[in-house]
């Protein structure tokens, strides 16, 4: 099956308001990507609401085999979006958690399940929302450059948003997208997998760094911070220990890249 095949869904008309679920990684480690997400959406004429009580989607505990702990965290997020507005998530992995895993987590509790199912229908990954709901069409104002797109596994296989990320990049006139070898392969992060199986994780991410460098792209963009931290962190470490470092691999969240390319000032 082609990645994302069979994930087609109905999209609402462009709304006046949305909720932003920024994710814990963006809140703590990449707030710039969060701010650029807000700016991109506001420029489309959409008011962005950030419920202060949000923390984490609960995925770390869920994939580590601690369902009660995951449920406790997920349950807190369930009630944060009372208005029927779309919930936009600048991470394919966290969006997939809320869209597909919440209903499984709350399968045994009818009231929470109903809430999870209702939420599931209006959770959108950022690039998916920009393409299918916001109708994003901004002119590329940046200099010519080449980029490689890395899509997280959950974004690709559960949200199908590798296509929307690619579509947004394709809409930038002076950006050339180059494809790295084994573009569909995991970067080796896998949440706690990177800590539990450091050798295997290192082997996978080293191959990913190599394929990105070999692609000749000037930078890598991704809609998932987890993958970015893993890939760029590995590349930087390799530079530290290399006798003659390869050209530095730079990268950023696709929201920041899009904002800068389409005329947004660096802030």
């Amino acid at each position: 099956m082609e990645p994302g095949h069979g994930l087609a869904r109905n999209y609402p008309a462009k709304p006046k308001n949305i909720y932003l679920f920024a994710t814990c990684l963006v809140d703590q480690f990449a707030p710039g990507a969060g701010m650029d997400t807000i700016r991109l959406l506001e420029r489309e004429g959409i008011a962005v609401h950030f419920p202060e009580e949000q923390t984490c989607c609960g995925q770390p505990a869920h994939t580590s085999g601690y369902p009660d702990e995951a449920r406790a965290v997920a349950r807190r997020q369930l009630g944060l979006f009372p208005e029927p507005w779309p919930v936009v998530v600048p991470s394919g992995s966290c969006a997939a958690m809320m869209r597909h895993e919440y209903p499984k987590l709350f399968a045994d509790d009818p009231a929470l399940l109903a809430q999870a199912l209702e939420l599931s229908e209006r959770v959108f990954e950022l690039t998916e929302f920009l393409v299918h709901v916001a109708g994003f069409r901004q002119a590329d104002l940046g200099p010519a450059c080449t980029v490689a797109l890395h899509t997280s596994c959950h974004a690709r296989r559960e949200m199908g948003s590798h296509e929307t990320s690619a579509a947004l990049l394709a809409g930038l006139g002076r950006v050339t997208v180059v494809q790295q070898a084994r573009v569909e392969e995991c970067c080796g992060f896998g949440g706690t997998f990177a800590m539990r199986h450091p050798d295997i994780s290192e082997a996978i991410v080293s191959d990913k760094v190599a394929s990105l460098r070999e692609s000749g792209a000037e930078r890598v963009v991704s809609a998932d911070c987890g993958c970015l931290f893993n890939i760029l962190g590995r590349a930087a470490k390799l530079d530290e220990i290399a006798v003659s470092p390869a050209p530095t691999l730079v990268g950023e969240h696709i929201a920041s890249f899009l904002w800068r390319r389409t005329g947004g000032a660096e802030q």
Binding site: E2, Q28, R76, H154
Partner: protein, 477 residues
């Protein structure tokens, strides 16, 4: 291997996987093989809609078969018996081997020639026969090579996938008298074939696996490429087939879609060279075929998976190996690191039922949950969901409702449980989250530079000076 109950194949998984990752030669072999097999499969499924439809059909047939499993097994036994096939039931590996041994002793067999069968690996058939003084010779070329080297298969379809042709050439020179070194693949296959050809005629018993057992007609379907399967099941005077109880389907018409999914997913072939439909022993007046045909139906823990709504999907598997061919972890560590008969994603989800979760839980954690396995699975087994479920089970509090499998709770430790409880507390109480995340940002200069496994391979992860929530608050007028 037919191991005693206390054998923990997943013990040492970390050490074995580390060694495998650092074996550059083997990494290259596997990477090349995986790229090749992925490309072959991709070429077989150019039409996404056709593939989606066929997968849905395959999954439905397998789910239907499992939903009616008790009835279909009874029907299969009745029909096979009417066809002259003797049906045996084995609860575990020892019972299965004892049944085979009983047959072998009765017919005074000294040599058994085998077609490829992963179930025979699962039950440790060769060792059990050797212990009784009976030679069991593999006749599938890959299995023959692996047996010659005293190894276990490292892949369920291509057992010798870890070896280069140079390694095989050296092995042949070393183990087969009178062989001169050649790296020519055709010449190597010819050498193996000449060795095997004599053995078919000498064998008293032919052993095979079963890909699909058809209940309505009492037919055993055997999929193969080398013709050795047909030799094993027709030339010796006794044929013993071994298979898991889950391999049954109701109708002959259920076989073609599964066959098509199997060959295209496994080796990227539109069809295999042989598809044997075995429906009984030699009848009066027939010139060939075995005098006796036996089927040994083996549970070996499958009932445990069967009894659980989600885990039952594990039994949908048709053993194509596509999950391991697309697994980023399998591609890095190969099959032997898993320590189980079935490696890769399918090994991680099926082995706990055969060997206990206590013996196999590390395999459930040996996945990034990237979902590549589930995406290519021809019968749509939700492998990632099952892996998460096994992780839950492995760490479940003993006696709790989450602990339902043999060996559940074996991975639970007080420390790790306490860490996750603490994590859950912080992320489910806004006040606590606000406080800890504020301290992490403001105290970022104090962030540890050594972050365990993370910084062994990567630069440290340092919090931003201000959290997103701080930046949002600041920009409001």
């Amino acid at each position: 291997m037919n191991q005693p109950m206390h054998f923990h194949p997943a013990d040492g998984f970390a050490a074995r996987s580390r060694a495998a990752v650092n074996d550059a030669g083997q990494r290259k072999n596997f990477r090349g093989a995986m790229d090749f097999l992925q490309a072959k499969r991709r070429a077989q499924f150019p039409d996404a809609d056709e593939l989606a439809g066929l997968r849905e059909l395959g999954a439905t047939i397998r789910r239907y078969s499992l939903a009616h499993l008790p009835r279909l097994l009874e029907q299969l036994e009745a029909k096979l018996t009417a066809n002259g096939v003797q049906v045996h039931w084995a609860e575990n590996a020892d019972e299965a081997n004892a049944i085979a041994l009983g047959i072998a002793r009765r017919v005074e067999a000294r040599r058994i020639v085998k077609g490829k069968s992963m179930v025979s690996e699962e039950i440790g058939f060769n060792h059990a026969m050797a212990a009784a003084g009976i030679e069991a010779l593999e006749s599938d070329m890959g299995e023959y090579i692996v047996q010659l080297d005293g190894e276990a298969p490292s892949h369920i379809i291509m057992p010798e996938i870890n070896k280069t042709r140079q390694q095989i050439a050296e092995l042949f020179v070393d183990k087969i008298p009178g062989v001169t070194y050649t790296e020519d693949v055709d010449a190597l296959i010819l050498i193996g074939r000449e060795q095997l050809r004599r053995k078919f005629a000498e064998a008293d018993i032919g052993l095979s696996g079963v890909n699909f057992a058809v209940a309505e007609t009492g037919t055993l379907c055997l999929v193969e490429n080398e013709g050795n399967g047909r030799m094993c099941t027709t030339l010796p005077r006794v044929h013993i087939a071994v298979t898991g109880i889950e391999k049954v389907v109701e109708k002959l018409e259920h076989v073609p879609p599964l066959f098509s999914l199997l060959t295209r997913s496994a080796t990227g072939q539109a069809v295999t060279t042989y598809l044997n439909l075995i429906s009984g022993p030699r009848k009066p007046g027939e010139k060939d075929g075995p005098e006796e045909v036996h089927l040994i139906l083996i549970d070996n823990g499958r009932s445990q998976a069967y009894g659980d709504e989600l885990l039952r999907a594990t039994l949908q598997c048709i053993r194509c190996g596509a999950c391991m061919n697309h697994c980023p972890v399998y591609a890095r560590i190969g099959g032997h690191a898993y320590g189980t008969t079935y490696p890769g994603p399918i090994g991680a989800i099926v082995s706990p039922h055969m060997l206990g979760l206590d013996a196999t839980y590390p395999l459930a954690f040996a996945s990034t949950l990237c979902g590549a396995c589930g995406e290519v699975c021809p019968v749509r087994i939700p492998i990632s969901d099952i892996l998460v479920r096994l992780r839950n089970e492995a760490q479940a509090r003993p006696g709790s409702s989450d602990a339902s499998l043999r060996g559940s709770g074996a991975a639970r430790t007080k420390l790790v449980s306490a860490i996750w409880r603490g994590w859950s507390l912080i992320y489910s109480r806004l006040g606590l989250y606000r406080l800890t995340s504020w301290f992490m940002s403001r105290g970022r200069a104090l962030s540890p530079i050594e972050q365990g496994a993370w910084t062994r391979s990567r630069t440290p992860l340092i919090p931003a000076p201000k959290r997103l929530r701080d930046l949002i608050r600041e920009r409001k007028p």
